[in-house]
Symmetry: C2
Subunit: 509 residues, 2 copies
């Protein structure tokens, strides 16, 4: 036995782990006292990347050195994500060493300097990202490199496969398995719950896994969460789908494409969205979810994510080609992306619109209904249960006679019980500063407004629109209402609105 | 008076600031309890970017939410960099709000998507970076975008000017002001202290501000710091130069191009080095330092920073063109970059080589001496105190008769007193595994080895080379010795060496 300092995992000097209860999101951070034995013996300096070892696991973390008495010399403080990733318990012994150079970061640098990445390169990069080897800064550089020099089609294929390979896959005994995806960028475009209800009512199997928002005020998962639990295990998903042919759950909970969940957080922080990354993101999730037939909703408009018909065509050919390669039959539905869909923008406000359409309420937003019907029709035709041109009739029938609504209720019950969306305690209307015809709405600025009000973290926050393109507006008329869960956020959103009222373009009649 | 929570700067709800003593390097972080009034009233969520206000200053920080008792509900913990930037004192009241969207990040995204940046764009971006508005992730995206789609010449010009504009400038009553810079990438290439001593002994004015290492095991500032204080104020620099015509100080301490110091840290973390960024980095420092004549040392070799004569030509034309635009006469000296220079690699080991050359010791590294003489000769000719071809005679004379050494001693004394470089307590030789002629040395892997041993943070750490290209080596002969300040780092470097012995290429004779 040695007389040296205590030895921990793999014979290295060990130190007691302490959960600091700090939410640093995806960034693993370890806090060590500057004077600790481990910093001295290992020669660790602030902001080094270090490897933290337990008996069975390890991860790379950023070292923050502490000079004060915030932590003791004989303890290592860990951020929540590091604690969870390592499966630690209070007082566990861990060891900490320099992080070995991460070879795959050389591949990322190569990509920055213009070298193409190959299948095994993406395998290495994606495995390292999922294993917690990359800092947020490293991930940001990878994403920026893939945005600055757009990914080639073979790179998108390879990236998609790598992302599927590191995650779980859902396996179904039925066929076909239908799915839909919207490329987003259009606030309020919350057709998914309606489409799932319609096609499931028609007997199709649609185990829908959705994402949370990337850069938008709400993702389908965010909206659906206001109506039912969405954080289901693989086993629970199978049970729900067995019973109702369908579900609408959060994909992240089942580790379908876990790389995507990590990449999305950094994309969100950087407000980046690129075609190649998006195709890999969408398809890795769909492949892992076991889809065989996929309908893609691509809204096109000057302030949507896809701005021109040319960009839509490029997106379409990219998505369908990569989809075909992985055995997924897909159809793209190009839609009008010139203005938000429905009335609400933000998780709960969008849920309200979804319920109105499903329940056939008189004031239900027509545009949301029409879009959902069109996408459901495309799915039933693609899956072969209706001849071309007849899908719309079937879809309308089950929506109008209440079967879709009853199916939706049963799906929510099967997922753990239906919920009532929250209502925001703070509201404020934005008024037209002049009279005129509404000729344009800036989706991006409307989205930012909703985000500043607190969406999607605050479920009830967002923007409620009272006008649509073509409307004749009088000065002083309410254009929209901002909803917020705190006065601070409301003030903040209103300050932004005050200097951005050109998000509504009013032209003289 | 209101009955609400206490009000702080600008009438916002206030909270007591607490210095946590956490070194997060350049990343400003604020720690708030999840249940704190300020999180609730302002609707702040984890990983939000928030603005921290004092009475007179503000900065943007990343919010880490704390769920444990690490900090109290009524206090805001700040990382050291945030504390210093805001000039806080214990118990000061601060307020915290959402950070308004940073407009210039839209310009960064535009650059990622392929739009050129103009002068006012760079002004905005650089000002925001220096004002602490950008996260490390944001800065990384900016640098990656400028590496993926290399900066155009007009962009390099604009970036350089923006970087100069946000910092201090040194103003000299004398002329010419000479300067030199090496583009780096060549371990041990520590000519600067020798060149400064020679040209100052010849009567030229050379107020040299140097950088710390970016991605290398030592920068001139790191090496010089083992010989004398380098952290001088503008006033102290003027005093030293007044007395000795020269100095060798750290540029960061005088806020010459503070943007460069921030960018360099992130470049270092990402291990990124690109031509446009490098030109702006070098020239912004030289312009701010008031240089009129500049000699650039560009080592070229397969594992140097500049790998081909074509890349050197591109670098040369870029640097001289941008230099001319700002009124700096420059000359480029292309040198052999196939192997490290001198014997030592790492701050103190390089200082030892510098001293040997200046003191004219018998075993002084010949290659370091020759390079320093060549650069000094170029400078005296460029500055017009020797006709073309005669500079080398003048330079040799003052080096050989001891005037340069005495000048160097006086400069060190003027800067605060000469120091003796530290010696590492842990050493280990690396032996040749076979006999053969040494035909190549991998600069990058030698550098990595020195860094893994602890350089440049550990001054005494690094690599001492015992062989040069062309040497006939016997199996078992010592190729180099690794120096480290801790056993952990030594082990770590040796583990790397064990799998990277091909950094020395031995070919059969």
């Amino acid at each position: 036995m040695s007389d040296g300092p205590p030895r921990g995992p793999a014979g290295r000097p060990s130190i007691r782990a302490r959960r600091l209860g700090i939410d640093t999101h995806a960034e693993a951070i370890v806090f060590l006292h500057q004077e600790s034995d481990i910093c001295r013996s290992e020669g660790l300096a602030g902001h080094n990347r270090v490897r933290v070892h337990t008996d069975g696991r390890s991860l790379v973390a950023t070292l923050f050195q502490v000079t004060d008495d915030l932590i003791a010399n004989d303890e290592a403080g860990l951020s929540d994500v590091a604690w969870t990733h390592l499966g630690l318990h209070e007082g566990d012994e861990i060891s900490i060493s320099h992080a070995a150079p991460i070879d795959s970061l050389g591949l990322v640098r190569g990509r920055i300097y213009g070298r193409e990445l190959h299948a095994k390169d993406f395998d290495e990069i994606i495995r390292d990202i999922v294993d917690g080897q990359y800092s947020t800064l490293d991930i940001g550089a990878f994403l920026t490199a893939c945005a600055s020099r757009p990914l080639l089609q073979q790179e998108v294929l390879a990236l998609t496969r790598s992302m599927v390979d590191v995650g779980e896959r859902l396996v179904w005994s039925r066929s076909p398995i239908v799915d839909k995806h919207s490329v987003g960028g259009l606030p309020g475009n919350r057709t998914t719950p309606i489409v799932v209800a319609i096609v499931a009512a028609l007997g199709l199997t649609m185990p829908k896994t959705s994402s949370r928002a990337i850069t938008s005020p709400s993702g389908t998962a965010d909206t659906m969460e206001t109506l039912a639990p969405i954080d289901l295990s693989t086993r629970e998903i199978h049970r729900v789908v067995e019973r109702e042919n369908a579900c609408i759950v959060w994909g992240g909970a089942v580790r379908l494409s876990p790389a995507d969940d990590i990449l999305i957080r950094v994309e969100r922080a950087l407000d980046l969205d690129t075609e190649g990354q998006m195709i890999a993101s969408v398809l890795s999730k769909k492949i892992a979810a076991g889809a065989t037939h996929l309908v893609l909703d691509v809204p096109v408009g000057p302030t949507a994510k896809v701005r021109t018909p040319e960009a839509a065509a490029s997106m379409t050919s990219g998505l369908t080609a990569v989809g075909t390669f992985f055995g997924i039959q897909s159809r793209v539905v190009i839609s009008d992306g010139r203005q938000p869909v429905g009335r609400g923008i933000g998780p709960a406000l969008e849920a309200k619109d979804v319920l109105a359409v499903l329940q056939g309420r008189p004031g239900a937003p027509r545009d949301l209904r029409d879009r959902a019907l069109q996408l459901a029709a495309a799915l039933v035709e693609l899956a072969g249960i209706a001849p071309a041109g007849n899908g719309i009739t079937l879809a309308k029938a089950v929506l109008d006679d209440g079967r879709a609504w009853r199916k939706f209720e049963r799906i929510c019950e099967a997922q753990g019980g239906m919920r009532v969306p929250a209502v925001a305690p703070h509201k404020h209307p934005l008024l037209a500063e002049r009279s005129g015809r509404l000729t344009a709405i800036d989706n991006r600025r409307i989205s930012r407004l909703a985000k500043l009000a607190g969406a999607p973290e605050d479920k009830a926050a967002g923007v409620e629109l009272h006008v649509q393109l073509g409307a004749d507006v009088e000065a002083g008329q309410i254009l929209c209402t901002v909803h917020a869960e705190s006065q601070g956020e409301l003030d903040y959103a209103l300050a932004y609105a005050g200097t951005n009222m050109t998000m509504f373009v009013l032209e003289e009649r």
